[in-house]
């Protein structure tokens, strides 16, 4: 499958460049060793991260460099008349890129190990695992990036596609976060981090870093870091790679040569990218308007978005020409996304904010702030020259929610939370000086799973506070404006102090 003659040509044709890039790769990666006073283990870790970053950059640059011949008519004549099967041409080019990048990484790692082995313990299992992860990661990124680059029909559009597809996961995650923020849906709120982590680059970076940070350790250190790899993410990466292989067959092996230097109008190029980013932008804008109710200030944003849309059409079609269908399309999409958002908002997001998913081993944390209260813990009068700030912090393991101990407290907290949710969907005011945060976390890993912030209006009564104090921590802070003094109390102390 690999054409040895073409492989040799790829190497010999730019041998000076490859050697130069190799030297730069090693030098940049190992630059931390040149700084005096750095610990060997720290230098090694910085070197592995730097070599990872450079490898990822090369996995973008090499497909552009080595597959650009497809995007020029004249070079197509030369390369496609060569006595080499197209599949061989593709596999040989990707294999060469992989061997080149992996060689740079391997040489860097060898040097780094040589520099550190005297003063460190080397965990060979982590070393082999990180090499395997780097090999898989680089190969996957090369295949995926080559596929994306070949969606286009010319060099400029190919680079645009690479940038656009790289940012897709960020766009999806940001949109998910915006929607979940606006609709107060807790179980979507962690999607930002997880969404990013399904981008191929992030999968490679996170999993490689996780393994490689434990390759070396100072001799006098005891092992504490447990590297963990997400098999789910690696499976996703493999799926992406398989899809990219299939699409490469369509976009390279079966490619019509005459596409070179034409407008990039295949489905996965501008048509998909423009429509995707337009939709994402309109959803973000539409949902944001609904809550803010400040449509005047958002009209400017719609106009700006429309201008950006038109510019992208000009870049796509390579013509400065107005198409009425594009204007109609934009207006329709804007109305539909706004309409959908309005519909969802009017239906209180179909009761989704009232729920949150709970799993065994997790705990719920209610954290509530009520600021600017009166001494009797009612909402504050403006004339007062003091303020009382209240914070409530309650942790409840999910398997104990229905127990006698927590049942009453949960009922109080949930009533307030639902009040806050109803307030959110029925008023346009977006800020109150009372806030509540709900966190769901994994008690074993001590990691947040989901969270949500609420704006509340009604304060807790003293009876409610007494119930909550039985299962959690309540702190009150009294601030005197005149003397600029703070005083902190527990609930019992405060009630005694103010004789409530």
């Amino acid at each position: 499958m690999i054409n040895k003659n073409y492989f040799k040509y790829l190497f010999k044709s730019k041998i000076i460049a490859w050697v130069f890039f190799g030297i730069m790769f090693v030098a940049i990666s190992m630059s931390s060793f040149l700084t005096p006073g750095n610990e060997a283990t720290d230098c090694f870790r910085v070197t592995t991260i730097t070599s990872l970053v450079l490898s990822i950059i090369m996995s973008f640059a090499l497909p552009v460099f080595l597959f650009s011949f497809v995007h020029r008519k004249r070079s197509c004549d030369m390369y496609f008349s060569l006595p080499i099967d197209r599949k061989e041409l593709l596999i040989t080019t990707i294999t060469f890129s992989f061997v080149l990048i992996f060689s740079y990484y391997a040489i860097t790692s060898i040097f780094a190990l040589l520099f550190t082995m005297r003063s460190t313990t080397i965990f060979f299992s982590s070393l082999f695992a990180s090499c395997a992860m780097m090999a898989l990661g680089i190969l996957a990124l090369l295949i995926i990036n080559s596929c994306i680059y070949l969606f286009a029909n010319n060099i400029f559009d190919g680079i645009v596609m690479l940038a656009a597809y790289s940012a897709i996961f960020v766009a999806i995650s940001l949109t998910a976060e915006t929607i979940s923020d606006l609709l107060l849906i807790p179980f979507m709120l962690s999607s930002f981090e997880e969404g990013i982590l399904f981008s191929p680059v992030a999968i490679v970076a996170v999993n490689f870093t996780s393994i490689s940070q434990n390759i070396v350790q100072s001799i006098d250190e005891t092992m504490s870091f447990v590297p963990s790899v997400s098999y789910l993410q690696i499976t996703v990466l493999v799926i992406y790679t398989c899809i990219a292989c299939f699409l490469l067959k369509k976009n390279f092996v079966e490619r019509k040569t005459e596409r070179a230097e034409q407008v990039s109008n295949t489905f996965f190029s501008y048509p998909f990218i423009i429509n995707f980013y337009l939709l994402v932008s309109l959803v973000n804008l539409g949902f944001s308007i609904i809550k803010s109710n400040m449509i005047d200030s958002f009209i400017l944003l719609y106009i700006l978005l429309f201008c950006i849309y038109l510019i992208s059409i000009f870049v796509y079609k390579r013509k400065i020409k107005f198409y009425w269908k594009n204007i109609l399309y934009f207006v329709s999409a804007a109305l539909i996304t706004f309409g959908c958002g309005k519909f969802i908002f009017m239906n209180h997001a179909f009761s989704l904010p009232y729920q949150y998913p709970l799993n065994v081993g997790e705990k719920i944390n209610y954290y509530i702030n009520e600021n600017n209260l009166n001494k009797d813990l009612s909402s504050k009068d403006l004339e007062a020259n003091y303020s009382v700030n209240l914070s409530i912090n309650i942790d409840i393991p999910t398997d104990q929610l229905d127990t006698e101990k927590y049942k009453q407290a949960v009922s109080i907290l949930e009533a307030h939370r639902k009040q806050a949710i109803d307030l959110w969907f029925t008023t346009s005011q977006s800020y109150y000086d009372k806030g509540a945060d709900l966190y769901i976390s994994n008690a074993i890993q001590n990691k947040d799973v989901a969270s949500c912030s609420y704006q509340t209006k009604d304060v807790f009564t003293i009876e409610e506070l007494k119930q909550l104090a039985k299962v959690g921590t309540i702190e009150l802070e009294y601030y005197d404006y005149k003397t600029d003094n703070y005083q902190t109390y527990t609930l019992d102390e405060y009630l005694k102090e103010v004789k409530l």
Binding site: R74, S75, L82
Partner: protein, 295 residues
């Protein structure tokens, strides 16, 4: 032998080749001519394996030139505009041909000298004509069995053209080379080609031996006593007919003696027979075709 069978090629909705059939014998120099946009470059690219046809196949020595990459080792394609990577010299470009073909260093040195090139020259700084020479240099150095020249013959100065013709003649004799040249310079092609093909409306309008075709088409200058109706010539296979008063110019296809005897039957005062050249053959064939389309 090169055999093209029912070749179709579209670019989007535009049909460029519509069921083209063609056979070119080994060791011939085939001149491919046609108007602009006829599909000459497209045809050459399909033969070279650059474009995939929608239907039909191109067989060279019974191997499909698109599906079988090995046969492309014997095919050299010189396009009208060549590609050279930035910063390349003749020596650096040589690498790809050395790697991928049966490259002959002896031929390379011979043609390097013949084309008066220096392999250390930066190709970017060469003139258009010299870049053409570089392309021809490599095309000949890989010892092809089929050489495709897409207007690559044009732009060579007369001395180099002469040397190139000599080189081709030697290669045809020694290496059994077949050459297909596309060009608009029909006078030049006439000197070098022994067979030809006129590409028109996606098909071969006419193709075959150049000398035979030229013999089969003649220009007859006829003078009558008085002006006669043009209908009198309807029985002839007319490619072109014009008159100025009683002086008629007839270009007709067919056996010269037979046509002469028919003209004599019309009692002319004077008849003169002139041979057509390749350019006239091309023009008259196209004219004749457009007339029959109008009818």
């Amino acid at each position: 032998m090169l055999k093209i069978d029912k070749l179709y090629k579209n670019f989007g909705n535009k049909e460029v080749l519509k069921g083209l059939d063609l056979e070119i014998q080994d060791e011939s120099i085939f001149g491919l001519v046609g108007i602009n946009g006829a599909g000459k470059s497209t045809l050459l690219r399909i033969i070279a394996g650059v474009y995939e046809p929608e239907q039909g196949c191109v067989l060279f020595n019974d191997c499909d030139t698109y599906d079988d990459p090995k046969i492309r080792k014997e095919i050299a394609f010189v396009s009208d505009e060549q590609f050279y990577p930035i910063g390349s010299t003749i020596k650096s470009v040589k690498q790809i041909y050395e790697s991928m073909y049966d490259f002959s260093e002896a031929k390379y040195q011979k043609f390097l000298k013949m084309f008066e090139l220096d392999e250390k020259d930066s190709i970017l700084n060469l003139s258009k004509g010299n870049k053409r020479r570089v392309a021809l240099l490599f095309a000949l150095s890989i010892e092809p069995k089929l050489l495709l020249l897409d207007e690559a013959y044009d732009g060579l100065e007369p001395l180099i053209r002469y040397k190139f013709k000599q080189a081709l003649a030697d290669l045809i004799e020694d290496e059994h080379l077949t050459v297909i040249i596309s060009s608009h310079n029909l006078k030049e092609l006439e000197d070098i080609c022994d067979s030809f093909g006129i590409l028109e409306d996606g098909r071969m309008l006419e193709y075959g031996d150049l000398s035979d075709s030229k013999e089969n088409i003649n220009k007859y200058q006829i003078v009558f006593e008085k002006e006669i109706e043009k209908d009198a010539f309807n029985d002839f296979n007319i490619l072109h007919l014009e008159n100025e008063g009683r002086v008629y110019q007839l270009v007709a296809k067919g056996n010269q003696e037979e046509i002469l005897s028919r003209i004599e039957a019309m009692h002319p005062i004077l008849v003169d027979v002139l041979q057509v050249n390749f350019e006239e053959l091309f023009i008259y064939e196209l004219e004749g075709r457009s007339k029959s389309n109008d009818q």
